[in-house]
Symmetry: C2
Subunit: 211 residues, 2 copies
Amino acid sequence: MRDIVIIGHKAKTNGDFSLNDLPGSAGRMDILCRCVSSALFLSFGMRRDVNVHLLLLGDPDPGKIVRFEGLHLRYLNPDERSSGSLINKALLKEVTEHDVRSTPGVWIRRGNLKSLLSEFEGRALLYLREDGEEIRELAREIRDPVFILGDHTGVTEEEEAQLLEAGAKIISVGPISLHSNHCITLIHNELDRAESERGESPGKVNCGDEE
Amino acid sequence: MRDIVIIGHKAKTNGDFSLNDLPGSAGRMDILCRCVSSALFLSFGMRRDVNVHLLLLGDPDPGKIVRFEGLHLRYLNPDERSSGSLINKALLKEVTEHDVRSTPGVWIRRGNLKSLLSEFEGRALLYLREDGEEIRELAREIRDPVFILGDHTGVTEEEEAQLLEAGAKIISVGPISLHSNHCITLIHNELDRAESERGESPGKVNCGDEE
């Protein structure tokens, strides 16, 4: 399983935004939409072994987590508006500390970075920063990873401290600073290559139960 | 310089489409919009050494080429709607065999794959197909490349024959089939790494004249 966390510091936390203006009225929700698409789409189908966790920290009700589960996901197309629409639907739900299902494969609950990280105990946390360790040196050893990425504002000092305290390793995907969705594509490619070398089938779940 | 050609077999060839429905009414224009964004954006700025050529082959007037020049480009944001809007503006122009400038860094003219390829004579043509030669084996030798990618329908037999006749090499970016915009991100990363190893500055033009 690959889990990918993206922190949206400005991302709107109610459903009161226009799909025609994801960058503006929705608080750079376009960034998160592109991340969802990069994380989940293969050319002919979906990465069923991936979960995406969008940590929404913008106004008016910061601290909501929308989760896309590749295994159960339906009604998602690769365009930004499609993921924006599913996020919007999730934000229209009554939200508590417990998961509420919005559409198939999309869940929402209250939470923050700390509560989210506590769910990944025992897993390999990998936090992306330009000066991190080169992913190509590590890819073959990575198993069952959780990747954490910031948005256009990066990751705050406080968040970074929480990540390091939780045992996250800092990694990098190349010589120049890239958008988060591009980083996700590069991460997947490294892991796909490593899995393929091991004779596994990248993008598929291991249980053989895929629809 | 890196040139990237994307063939949009269904992409609408007049400006009569809605930015609210890039996948539908605009003939999967969303694919081309994501390619433009992947080709041109760095985290903090634009790849000034990249040109993108969108070959639009859909109704009602197939055979138009919209070119984005990284060096001169303005008014482009990374979201799909932004590139969709610049493509739309270009398609509202009176189009001839000769370049017409639409907005800064965006040009449009009539053309087809053959006329486009003839402009790249002497350059290294690299055509992406799943079973091609591994880009990692080649990246260090690639100079001044032109990459050619299909859309969701791939590349037709006729187009492939034209590409091979023009001397294109077939390359691949990994073990599984990916969306065109994801392939572009992977191509850039390979070339960025190779340029960085050579002590060059990826994403920058060599003339030192960048704004």
